[in-house]
Structure formats: structure tokens, C-alpha cells
């Protein structure tokens, strides 16, 4: 009994510590990203090409930091067993639209399309925040590894034979077969490391761990040079 109470106290302390750390890390990042964006929008005045290029670098570094903060904090919570993933009925369209509206500026900068196709009224028994974090990682990756064409997020209803799923379909560089499972290991970036694309190598690992906690799997299909499909598949239907 004492041990259980001690564990609870320790978990509560860890949770508070992580929440505080997240807050302290995101607050300055809000200034970095916000003011960089204002400058890039040209609101205080026009920029020359070199200023614009350098500010783009600041922004992409800051965005990478943002994703890393969220993924590291999630991973610590998952590893310590303190992540609370209460299941609830989630409106798939509302979460997908929210995530896509947040990453739309990245698609726009790269000249890529970002489409959402979710059946009306599609719901999923999951955890809203975990679901949102998985989508941010998968759709963010899809944009990072696509240079032409675009990304589509589409929902497929379960029908008793197949499970409900959400596919993130891109027309990107694709993945060699040997890398497909490897990329779910922490800090493993495969050939992305060689061509200098974004990502810290935590997103897929954390996404699969989160998916597991809410009763879902992540599967990947890919044709190198043509694109990839990352699917979040419910185990419940």
C-alpha cells in the first residue's frame, strides 16, 4: 500500500515537472516562431531575398524544436507509465482538420497540396490528444519527404471485415523496404539523415507507442520514388 502511494506521488511529481518543463520550453518558442512568422509575412516591412532565406532557416529550426519538445515529453511519459490516455469517442474530421490547418502553412511554402477526405460523422474510440499527436507526426513527415504533388489525409470507415483507419498518403520520395520498420526505432532516420531532411527520428517511434496505447497500429506501404502511405489502423473494429 505504501509502495503504491509512493509510486502515485512520484508519478504526480513527474507529471507536474514535465508539464512545467513543457510550458517553459514552449513559451519562448512562441516568441521565436511568432515573430519570425511576422517578419516573413512582411508585416513590419519588405525583406530582401537573403533575409527571407535566413528567416526560413530560423523557422524550420524552431518548428523542429517544437516537435522534438512534444515528442521527448511524450516519450518520457510513455516510458514512465504516466501518460494518461483515457479513451473517448473522437470526431475524426474535427481533429484531422485542426491538425491540417496547423500544418497548412508548411504545405503552402513547399507548393504542395494538403487534402482532407474524412467521411461525414466518422468517429473513433481513441484519445483525442494522442490521435492528434500521431497525425501531426505522420502528416508532418509526409510533407517533409514530399517535394512535388501533395499529401492527402483520408479516413476509411470500418465495415466488420476491415478496420477503421486513417491513411496519410503522400507523393514523396518513398522508403526502401529495408528502412520501413527500422524507422520506428528511436533516433533512426534512415536515408533522411543522408539527404538532410527534417525530423529528429522520434516522431514515428512515439507515434507507434501512442497508437499502441489507444489500441491502434501504424502500417506503412511505400514505393521508392512514388510515395508512401502511413495508416493508423484501429484494432477495435
Amino acid at each position: 500500500m505504501k509502495a503504491v502511494i509512493a509510486d502515485d506521488l512520484r508519478n504526480e511529481r513527474l507529471d507536474r515537472l514535465l508539464a512545467g518543463a513543457g510550458h517553459q520550453l514552449r513559451t519562448p518558442l512562441n516568441s521565436v516562431l511568432g515573430f519570425t512568422e511576422i517578419l516573413l509575412m512582411g508585416l513590419p516591412g519588405p525583406l530582401n531575398e537573403e533575409q527571407r532565406r535566413q528567416l526560413h532557416n530560423v523557422r524550420s529550426g524552431a518548428r523542429l524544436l517544437e516537435t522534438t519538445i512534444d515528442n521527448v515529453l511524450d516519450l518520457v511519459r510513455i516510458e514512465s507509465g504516466t501518460l494518461n490516455v483515457r479513451l473517448e469517442l473522437v470526431d475524426v474530421g474535427s481533429v484531422v482538420n485542426e491538425v491540417c490547418s496547423n500544418i497548412q502553412p508548411i504545405a503552402k511554402e513547399k507548393g504542395l497540396s494538403l487534402e482532407v477526405e474524412i467521411p461525414a460523422g466518422m468517429t473513433w474510440c481513441t484519445n483525442r490528444r494522442a490521435f492528434s499527436r500521431i497525425l501531426v507526426n505522420l502528416a508532418g513527415n509526409a510533407l517533409s519527404f514530399t517535394d512535388a504533388g501533395g499529401v492527402q489525409v483520408r479516413g476509411v470507415l470500418g465495415d466488420g471485415v476491415s478496420s477503421a483507419r486513417v491513411d496519410i498518403v503522400d507523393t514523396g520520395i518513398g522508403l526502401p523496404e529495408a528502412e520501413r520498420e527500422l524507422l520506428f526505432e528511436p533516433f533512426e532516420r534512415g536515408s533522411a539523415r543522408r539527404d538532410g531532411r527534417g525530423g529528429t527520428g522520434l516522431g514515428l517511434h512515439v507515434s507507434r507507442r501512442l497508437a499502441d496505447l489507444v489500441g491502434a497500429d501504424i502500417a506503412v506501404e511505400s514505393t521508392p520514388g512514388r510515395g508512401s502511405i502511413f495508416s493508423l489502423i484501429s484494432r477495435r473494429d
Binding site: 513543457g22 519562448p28 516568441s31 494518461n84 485542426e98
Partner: protein, 128 residues
């Protein structure tokens, strides 16, 4: 043009949001904690309030309750804006009565579009 009360305990956040609001032709009013927010809301009756959740003296939840309980400013949309992107915070904010929930860091352009969706009647485009 709308009057928007921005409540945040960090100078940079007030500066950032003030700039964005003025750029869109709105008037930005500022408060640095919940107490100041309640006073400003009752006195100035803004069209919208953008509220940080965790602040000294009085937090966003207490300020929301005080403003909602008043006849003078109770009906205006109040949006939560927080760097606490933690599990359950969004649900807690909605349950408390916030009309919208946004996490820092914000993406200025989309954020302003969503914020303006809460101005002017039922045309709400922001997070549910």
C-alpha cells in the same frame, strides 16, 4: 474592427498578439494576470478575450468564472491560449466554459483567421 483583450503574463506574448491584432485593424487591450483581466473586461467590455491559463495572482480559470458571472461582460467569447499542451487541458478548458482552446506556439496567420471566426456572431471557424 473589434476590441480584443489579451491576457498574458509574458511581455513577448502581449507584444506578439498586440502586433497581430493591430495589423488586422483591431484594437488590442492588455492585462497581465487574471485580476487585471476581470477589471479590464468589466470596465472596457471587449468584443473578445484571449486568455492565458496559468498566470500569477489569479489564473485564467478563475478570471473566466468571474467574467462569466457578471452581467457586463459575461457574454463575450473567451478563448484559452496556453503553453500547457498537456493531456486533459483542452477538455478542462472547454468544461470550464472557454469558447475555444489554442496552444502556444501559435502560427500567426492561421491563428488570426481562427480568432476572427469568433468575432461577429455565429461564424465560428476556430477549434470547437
Amino acid at each position: 474592427m473589434a476590441q480584443v483583450l489579451v491576457v498574458d503574463d509574458t511581455d513577448h506574448a502581449l507584444d506578439l498578439l498586440g502586433y497581430l491584432l493591430r495589423d488586422r485593424g483591431h484594437v488590442a487591450l492588455f492585462a497581465r494576470n487574471g485580476e487585471e483581466a476581470v477589471t479590464a473586461a468589466l470596465k472596457l467590455r471587449p468584443d473578445l478575450i484571449l486568455m492565458d491559463l496559468h498566470m500569477p495572482l489569479m489564473d485564467g480559470y478563475e478570471a473566466l468564472a468571474a467574467i462569466r458571472g457578471s452581467d457586463r461582460a459575461g457574454a463575450c467569447p473567451i478563448l484559452a491560449l496556453t503553453a500547457f499542451g498537456e493531456v486533459g487541458e483542452r477538455e478542462k478548458a472547454h468544461a470550464a466554459g472557454f469558447d475555444g482552446f489554442f496552444s502556444k506556439p501559435i502560427t500567426p496567420e492561421t491563428f488570426m483567421d481562427q480568432l476572427e471566426g469568433f468575432l461577429g456572431g455565429d461564424d465560428r471557424r476556430g477549434a470547437p
